[in-house]
C-alpha cells in the first residue's frame, strides 16, 4: 500500500506542476462543448428527454476529458522509460503489480480532476444540478473510466519503445472509442448496425452512467452500465499488469 501511495504521490506532484498540460488538455473538451452545444442546441431535440442538447452533451464531454487524460497518463510511462526513471523504480525491491497500480491510480486521479474541471465549467455555463446523489454516481463512473483507460495506456506503453506509435493509438483507437460512445448522440435512434457498434464500445457505458447521474435519465439501465464498465475496468487492469510485468529495460 505504501508503495502504491508513493507512486501515486509522484504522479500527483508532476500533474500539479504541469500547469500548461492541465490547461492544454481542457482545450478540446471545452471547444467541443461550446461549439457543438451551442451550435446545435436550437436544432437538435433529444427524444424522450426534456434536456436540451447542451445538457445531453455535458456527460459525453466529461467522459471525453477523462478518457483522453487517462490514456495519456498511462502512456506517459514511455517517457519514464526513455528518461531512465523507470529503471530506478524497477530495480527497487517492490513488485511490478504495486508499481502498475500506483501509476494507474495516479493517472485515474488526474483524469478524474480533469473531468471535474469540465463539470465545473458546465455549471458555470448553466448546467443545472439534478441531485447531489446523482453527482456521486457520475463521479463513480468517471473514476471507473479513468482507471480502465489509464490501465489501457499502460498496457500499450509497455509494448511501445517510443512515442512514435502514439498518434496511431489516438487516431485508430481513442477517437473511434470516443466517437462511437454515444457521447455526442443518443444511441436509441441509431440504425441497428451502428447501434451494435456503439454497444460494443466500453465507453458507451461510462457515458450513459455519467448521464444517468447528471441528468437523471439514460438510455441504458445504470446497473447494466455499471456492470459492464466494471468488468471492462477489471479486464484492463489485468491486461496492464500482465504487459507491464514483461517490460524490459
Amino acid at each position: 500500500m505504501d508503495i502504491i501511495a508513493t507512486i501515486w504521490l509522484r504522479s500527483m506532484k508532476r500533474y500539479i506542476r504541469s500547469k500548461s498540460r492541465i490547461i492544454g488538455s481542457l482545450g478540446m473538451p471545452v471547444f467541443f462543448l461550446v461549439l457543438l452545444g451551442f451550435g446545435l442546441n436550437a436544432v437538435v431535440n433529444i427524444p424522450g428527454t426534456e434536456a436540451n442538447y447542451v445538457g445531453f452533451l455535458v456527460p459525453g464531454i466529461v467522459a471525453m476529458s477523462v478518457l483522453f487524460t487517462s490514456v495519456f497518463s498511462g502512456i506517459q510511462i514511455i517517457w519514464d522509460k526513455q528518461f531512465g526513471f523507470l529503471k530506478e523504480t524497477l530495480v527497487a525491491p517492490v513488485s511490478r503489480l504495486e508499481i502498475m497500480l500506483g501509476q494507474t491510480l495516479g493517472g485515474a486521479t488526474t483524469a478524474f480532476i480533469q473531468g471535474l474541471l469540465i463539470l465545473v465549467f458546465s455549471l458555470i455555463i448553466g448546467l443545472t444540478i439534478v441531485s447531489a446523489g446523482g453527482f456521486l454516481i457520475a463521479f463513480g463512473f468517471m473514476i471507473l473510466i479513468g482507471i480502465a483507460f489509464t490501465s489501457f495506456g499502460i498496457a500499450i506503453a509497455s509494448r511501445m519503445e517510443d512515442m512514435h506509435g502514439f498518434q496511431l493509438i489516438m487516431n485508430f483507437i481513442i477517437f473511434p472509442v470516443f466517437g462511437l460512445s454515444g457521447a455526442l448522440f443518443p444511441i436509441d435512434t441509431l440504425p441497428v448496425w451502428l447501434r451494435s457498434l456503439t454497444l460494443a464500445d466500453p465507453l458507451t457505458y461510462g457515458v450513459e452512467g455519467i448521464r444517468y447521474g447528471l441528468t437523471g435519465t439514460s438510455q441504458l439501465d445504470p446497473l447494466l452500465s455499471f456492470g459492464v464498465l466494471t468488468a471492462f475496468t477489471v479486464a484492463m487492469i489485468g491486461a496492464g499488469a500482465h504487459l507491464f510485468r514483461k517490460v524490459q529495460i
Binding site: 508513493t6 528518461f83 531512465g84 527497487a92 525491491p93
Partner: protein, 328 residues
C-alpha cells in the same frame, strides 16, 4: 569474505553473445573495476548482477544471495547508479531521494535524517529543494550516488560514474568514492572505459573485451606483466653510456640515434644508479625520463587495439529527441 561470486555467467541477445562465460570473485571492501571499450559487455554484467536482466546461463551470488533464486533480496542489499541518468527531472533533489527511500520502505524519521546526511556528503544540501532539471551533469551524478546509498547497501554498483564529467568533478567524485569505500566499508564495483580512473581508483581491475575477461589483477601487476618500465636517456655518447650501465636489473638496452632506452622494473629505484655510473665515466646526460606502462598499453598488449573513448551514447541522442518532442 566474498561479496560477489560470478561463475560462468553468460548473456545472449538473439544470438549476439554480449557476456561470454565469465567468472570472478570480489571480496568485501574491494573497489573492483570492469574496464573495457564500448560494447564490451560491462553494463550487461552489472544489469545481471543487479537482477534487472536475466542471465542466459551461469550463476552469480551477491552478498551470499543467488541472483536467480532470490532477486528481491539481492535488490535490497545493493545500490546501483546506472550509466544513463535515472532521475525524475520534474522533482526536486529531496523528492527524488524521498521517493527512493519510500520504495525501500525506510521509516520516515530515518529517511529524513539519512537524506540530509547524504545530501551534505555530496555537497547538495543547499540545493535540496531545487528541481533536478536545473542541475548540472556533475550534480546529477552526485545526487544519483547519494540516492544509491540511501538504503545503506553493502555493495554499490557504479556504471561509468564519471562519464562526460570535467576533470575537476571527476577528481572530486573519485575522492568521494574512495571515502565511501574506506569509511563505510562498502564494496564497490564500477565500470569505466577511462584508464586513469581504473588505475587510480580500483584495487583490482578486470579488462573486458567482447564479453570476455582478458586480464584480471591489480593495476600494478597488470602493467608489470607487459614488461615493466622504460627509461630513456638522451646523451651525446650513447655507446659509452650503454657500456657504463650494467646490472642484473636491466632487462634490455637499446641504442638509438641520440638516446638510449633501458627496459626494467621499478625504474625510479634505479635512476640514481644510472646517473652515478654516467658521472663516473664523465658521460654527459642531457635528459632522462621514465615511461611507466599504462592500462592503455595493457589493453593494447592483450587485444592489439586501443580503447576508443566515446562520450555521447546513442541513448543520449534518443533522450535529446524525446526532450525536443516534449518541447522543452
Amino acid at each position: 569474505m566474498v561479496a560477489i561470486r560470478v561463475s560462468q555467467l553468460t548473456k545472449q541477445f538473439n544470438g549476439l553473445v554480449a557476456v561470454d562465460n565469465i567468472s570472478f570473485d570480489i571480496q568485501e571492501g574491494e573497489i573492483f573495476g570492469l574496464l573495457g571499450p564500448n560494447g564490451a559487455g560491462k553494463t550487461t554484467i552489472l544489469s545481471m548482477l543487479a537482477t534487472i536482466l536475466e542471465s542466459t546461463a551461469g550463476e552469480a551470488v551477491v552478498n551470499g544471495i543467488s541472483i536467480a533464486a532470490n532477486p528481491d533480496a539481492v535488490r535490497k542489499s545493493i545500490g546501483i547508479v546506472f550509466q544513463d541518468q535515472s532521475l525524475d527531472e520534474e522533482l526536486t533533489a529531496f523528492e527524488n531521494m524521498d521517493f527512493h527511500g519510500r520504495l525501500y520502505r525506510i521509516p520516515k524519521a530515518v529517511r529524513r535524517e539519512r537524506i540530509s546526511t547524504l545530501l551534505e556528503l555530496v555537497g547538495l544540501a543547499d540545493r535540496k529543494d531545487d528541481f533536478v532539471k536545473t542541475f548540472s551533469g556533475g550534480m546529477r551524478r552526485r545526487l544519483e550516488i547519494a540516492r544509491g546509498l540511501l538504503h545503506e547497501p553493502k555493495v554499490l554498483f557504479l556504471d561509468e560514474p564519471t562519464l562526460g564529467l570535467d576533470p575537476q568533478t571527476r577528481n572530486h567524485l573519485w575522492e568521494y568514492i574512495e571515502r565511501l569505500n574506506k569509511e563505510k566499508r562498502i564494496t564497490i564495483i564500477l565500470t569505466t572505459h577511462y584508464m586513469d580512473e581504473a588505475d587510480k581508483l580500483c584495487g583490482r581491475v578486470a579488462i573486458i573485451d567482447k564479453g570476455k575477461i582478458i586480464a584480471m589483477d591489480t593495476p600494478q601487476n597488470l602493467k608489470n606483466q607487459i614488461g615493466g618500465d622504460v627509461v630513456t636517456i638522451t646523451s651525446t655518447k650513447i655507446a659509452a653510456l650503454a657500456d657504463a650501465i650494467s646490472g642484473s636489473w636491466i632487462k634490455t638496452k637499446e641504442q638509438h640515434d641520440g638516446f638510449l632506452t633501458i627496459h626494467l622494473e621499478n625504474a625510479e629505484t634505479h635512476i640514481a644508479t644510472i646517473v652515478t655510473a654516467a658521472e663516473k665515466q664523465n658521460i654527459p646526460i642531457a635528459a632522462i625520463s621514465i615511461h611507466k606502462p599504462t592500462l592503455e598499453s595493457v589493453f593494447l598488449h592483450f587485444t592489439g587495439r586501443t580503447i576508443r573513448e566515446e562520450d555521447a551514447s546513442n541513448k543520449d541522442h534518443m533522450r535529446m529527441r524525446a526532450r525536443l518532442w516534449r518541447g522543452k
